[in-house]
Each structure stands twice: as C-alpha cells, then as structure tokens.
C-alpha cells in the first residue's frame, strides 16, 4: 500500500465505547500511519453511559477543533443507548453543520440511513456511513474523501511526487525532491489527470473520452499512445529505468489508462 499524501496531523475525534477493541485499534493505528492525529473520547467514571459520551464529544469538539469525527451508532449494552450515536450525530451537526462525520453502522446500508437521520440533516452536512467490519484502509479512504481536502501534492509510490499548485513533478531520492524538468505542458497535464483519478480511488480508470483533448490527428488513440510513451520515458529517465507496458501507466483493454504506482 502506498502513501497518498500526508495529512498534516489533522485531528480526528474518535467516539466509540469500543475504542479499546482490536478492531478499533487497527483503525487508530492506520490513522496514525497516514499522518492523522486520532483523539479518543473516553469519559471516566464508574457507570459510563451514552450521555457521558455525548457530553464529552461536544466538549472535545470545542476544545480540539477536529477535522472530522468518527462516530459509532451503538453505545453500551443498554437498549436505550442502542441508537445513541444518532442523537450525538444530531447534536454535532447542530453545532457545526459542515463537520464531516463518518458513522460506524453495523452494516454499510443499515436501517439507520433511511430513518430520521437523513431527514434531520441539512443538505450541507457531510455525513457518511461505513460498516464496522470495513478494513482500516477503507475507513481512512472514506474519511479522507469526506474531509475533502484535495492534496497539494500527490505521491506516486515512493518514487514520484506531483505538486499540482506549482505544476511540477519531482523524483524522490533519499527523502530529497528533485524537479523533473522534462515534465511540463501536455505531459504534465496527462499525468495530473491520471494522478487525480488515482488519488480519488485506486481502481479508477481515466477513459479515452477524457484524454482525447491531449491527442491530435485522425487517430486519436495512436496519438495518445505516443504521448503516454513519451511521458513514461521522461519519468523513466529521471530514475534510470525503463517502464514497460504493464508499469506506471497502463492501457486497460483499450478503454483508457490507469496509474499504477511503480514498484521500487
């Protein structure tokens, strides 16, 4: 798994009474690996209930100003707290309607979705639901999308970095960045398009229809093939490698292209 940009220590508030479970620990670990700072809400006392979590969550929101909240639906074993997470969600959204909240439900599309929850939320609120069994990678991916900050730089594996703002591509060697001068103009645009799709979702392909503007002549596909080849050569030269047909940028069944981070 490759790191896709650094999250600059953004704080994530974790509100789940099972935060000590192995499952949650693996999520916390993943968040830290990806550069987030998880802050666990853990009220103290002999009989901690859903209300304590609610109070502490609202307090922590003011205190810590997190970038997002990871919230469980169910709290404790009491039936009254079965949907406590939903009332906490409501309170969070009331305080800050734009706060991104990722909710852990039992199943990805539980009965919670179409109940009072969605009705009580404003159109601007960014709330998403995820299954508690989802892999830590999936949780972090969804959280990052929910926060929605487009990264200034996108890393492609451990070899390259694209700086969208400064329109530059760097090669990374021993932690240092070296500008690849050859990468500019159309080559840079194609690479940025492919990198943006890759950042959104690893399996996302950029179809030919979206790349046609980079081609010329009667045979647009052939022209595009030449451009991609040049692009791969430029990047290959920077690391003294020759990227083959199944490396870096690959043609998928003549549908389009997809970026694949190179193996070091």
């Amino acid at each position: 798994m490759t790191s896709k940009g650094i999250s600059n220590g953004q704080k994530i508030l974790i509100v789940d009474d099972e935060h000590m479970s192995d499952l949650m620990r693996s999520v916390l670990r993943r968040l830290e690996t990806d550069g987030f700072r998880p802050i666990v809400v853990a009220p103290e006392g002999p009989h901690v209930g859903g209300d304590d979590y609610e109070a502490q969550t609202l307090f922590a929101m003011e205190e810590e100003r997190p970038a997002a909240v990871l919230l469980d639906v169910r709290f404790g074993e009491y039936d009254t707290d079965r949907f406590k997470g939903l009332s906490i969600l409501k309170k969070i959204v009331e305080r800050d309607s734009s706060m991104p909240v990722l909710m852990f439900t039992q199943y990805a599309q539980g009965p919670y979705r179409d109940t009072a929850v969605t009705a009580s939320l404003g159109a601007s609120s960014s709330v998403d639901f995820i299954d508690k069994l989802a892999s830590p990678e999936e949780v972090v991916l969804r959280l990052r999308r929910l926060i929605g900050t487009a990264p200034e730089t996108i890393r492609i594996g451990s070899l390259f970095e694209i700086d969208a703002e400064n329109a530059a591509v760097y090669v990374i060697e021993d932690g240092k960045r070296d500008l690849i001068r050859e990468m500019q103009g159309m080559k840079l645009e194609i690479l940025s398009e492919l990198a943006a799709a890759y950042f959104r979702s690893e399996g996302e392909l950029v179809p030919f229809s979206r790349l046609e503007r980079f081609s010329e002549g009667d045979d647009s596909r052939a022209s595009l093939r030449v451009r991609i080849r040049e692009l791969k050569v430029s990047l290959g030269n920077a690391v003294s490698r020759d990227f083959g047909a199944t490396e870096l940028i690959i043609n998928i069944r003549n549908r389009g292209y997809r970026l694949v981070p190179p193996v070091e």
């Binding site: 192995d22 620990r25 599309q109 069994l133 892999s135 979206r210 549908r255 389009g256």
Partner: protein, 340 residues
C-alpha cells in the same frame, strides 16, 4: 376474537379457498337465502295450487323455504368470515416482514460480534508481525488475507438476508433520495479492490461523463445490487473486472463486466432464479448461495429498473473471446412526477 368457527378448521379452509371461491360462496349463499325467504313468504301462494282445494302443501313449502334460507345465510356468513380472516392473514404477512426486520436490527449487532473479534485479532496479529521488523512468511500473510476477505463476504450475506426479508413485504416502497451514483460505485470498487488483487484480478471502474451528478433513487438498493454483481464477477473473472457508469436521457446504467468463461446460453435464463448456482467442480468449496443475482434482479425491478445479462463463451477459434456482463438500468429520477 372467536367467530364461532374452530380456529384450526378455519386455518385449513383458508388455505384451500381462494378469494374467487369465497366470492362465489358469498354470492351463492345470498341468492340461496333470498330464494328461501321468498319461498317462506309465498308459501300460501305456492302451496295452494299444488293440491287445489287443500292447505296441506303450504306448511312443507314454508319449511323448505326456511331450510334454504338458513343454508344460504350460513354459506354467506362463513364466506364473509373466511374472507376477513384471509385478509387478516395477509396483513399478518406484512407485519411478519416488519417484525423480522425489527428482530434483525436488534440482533444484527450480536450476530456480527464473533466476526468482529476474529477480524480484530487478525489485524492485531498483522500489526504485531509488522512490529518485529522481520519479513513475515508469505504463507502466514496469505492466511491472514484469507481471514480478512471473509469480512465483505459476511457483510454481503447479512445484507442479502435483510433485503430478502424486505422483498417479502409487497407494500414496501424503495426510498427516493438524491444519490451520488459515482460515489456509490467508487465505494464498492474500493471495498472489492483488495479482494480482486488477492485473486490476481484487475478491477477498474469509471464514469462517463466525469462529473456524473446526482440521481434520485434508493442509494441503499443501488449499493446492494451493484455489490452483488461485483461480488459475482470476482468469483468468475479470469483477469479483468470492469464497472462502468454511464447515462442516457432517462436512465443511468451500470455495467459490470468480467472476462470469465461466460455463461452457457441454456443457463442464461436461470441466472436470476432463486437458489440457482452454476455447476462448479465438486472439489471446490461452494462459493455462491444462488441468492445474490436473484436479489439483485428483484431489487432492481422494485426500484423501477431492470437487470440484463449478456454473455459470450469462447468458440474454439479465439480463446480470449469470452465474457459475462450484467447491465443495471435505473431511472435518473425516481421521484413521483408531482414531487419534481
């Protein structure tokens, strides 16, 4: 409430008498009762001409009329009672679905508990192995991966059961909400990417146009149908799985394509049957319950769309020319016309 008909007898009769039969019984009973009543009332007029000059026949005619009246009245009464019980039983079906859903929601948490623990431990083991700094034997990672992959399997299975119960409820209506269709597909692709990778399959998805926009429909149903299709594709693909989201003027289309051996023409008609599974080698663990595609198809229909299958099997000449593709088509806007 007791209507004077023995409960078990009634239950048996309800099974055998359909609505149309009950309707005839009710009408026939009413007509019979009316004839009886007419006989009683007109017994002097009818009885007298039978034996002219004597009143002897008037009494038996009245008795016969009374008997016919009671027979008809009883038939009509019983049919009305049975019909109302039948209706009650249908109403019971609806609440059965709802009660089951309620139970399901209540126990969903507990049902997932063992798996959550197993998955948690597995991820913990992985982290601990990572911390040792030594390379983990490939065999161990593969075993851990295998455990990890059971999670989406379980998620889909539980969700299938929930949807199956929901489909039993004829009166349930799909939700209609603004849905970011591309985001739904993206989430499914993300969930299945590790599984595809583990099976050496390439999974790609894309949408055209790039900015797909919102559609109005049931997000949960969309997610569920496509998840079942992608799950199916991961079982049969040889190397490639493609998910493509496109739209026309009235519908949006999701095509899930795989380069597997394809489906025999004789099997195509059965693909959406409940419980149908292809004949796989008996040595392998059965991978499919035969419910996924049935549910996908029923759910698409309920949402006002349809699900089509198309397949090509290799014909000797070009061995690579085989595939299976499912295309789900749903209305862009499923809101009632007045609400738009």
């Amino acid at each position: 409430m007791n209507y004077g008909i023995d409960r078990t007898t009634a239950a048996i009769w309800i099974k055998f008498l359909n609505n149309r039969l009950l309707k005839y019984l009710r009408k026939g009973g009413a007509v019979l009762a009316a004839i009886g009543l007419v006989l009683v009332l007109l017994s002097p007029v009818i009885g007298e001409p039978i034996s002219p000059g004597s009143l002897w026949w008037i009494e038996p005619v009245a008795y016969i009329g009374a008997g016919v009246f009671f027979l008809g009245a009883i038939a009509a009464f019983v049919s009305v009672q049975l019909a109302s019980r039948r209706q009650g039983q249908n109403g019971g079906d609806r609440s059965w679905s709802r009660v089951t859903q309620d139970y399901f929601d209540t126990f969903a948490h507990d049902m997932g508990r063992p798996l959550r623990r197993i998955l948690g431990k597995q991820r913990e083991v992985r982290a601990l192995l990572g911390e040792t700094g030594e390379a983990t034997p490939r065999m161990v990672t593969e075993l851990l991966d295998e455990i990890e992959q059971q999670a989406p399997n379980f998620r889909l299975m539980i969700e299938n059961v929930r949807v199956l119960v929901d489909l039993e409820d004829e009166h349930a209506r799909p939700a209609v909400e603004p849905v970011d269709a591309a985001a739904v597909i993206r989430n499914i692709a993300d969930r299945y990417l590790p599984i595809a990778r583990e099976r050496d399959l390439e999974l790609v998805w894309w949408c055209e146009p790039a900015e797909f926009g919102l559609v109005y429909g049931d997000a949960s149903a969309l997610d569920h149908v496509v998840t079942n299709l992608v799950d199916n594709a991961t079982k049969f693909a040889a190397e490639q799985i493609e998910i493509r989201l496109t739209r026309n003027d009235s519908h949006f289309l999701i095509r899930v394509w795989d380069d597997g051996l394809g489906i025999a023409e004789s099997h195509l008609v059965h693909v959406f049957d409940r419980g149908w599974t292809p004949e796989l080698s008996a040595r392998r663990e059965k991978q499919s319950s035969g419910l996924g595609l049935y549910i996908a198809s029923s759910l698409s229909e309920r949402c006002g769309g349809d699900l089509l299958v198309e397949s090509k099997q290799s014909t000797g000449g070009d061995l690579n020319e085989h595939h299976a593709a499912f295309t789900l088509s749903l209305p862009l806007d499923n809101r009632p016309t007045a609400a738009r």
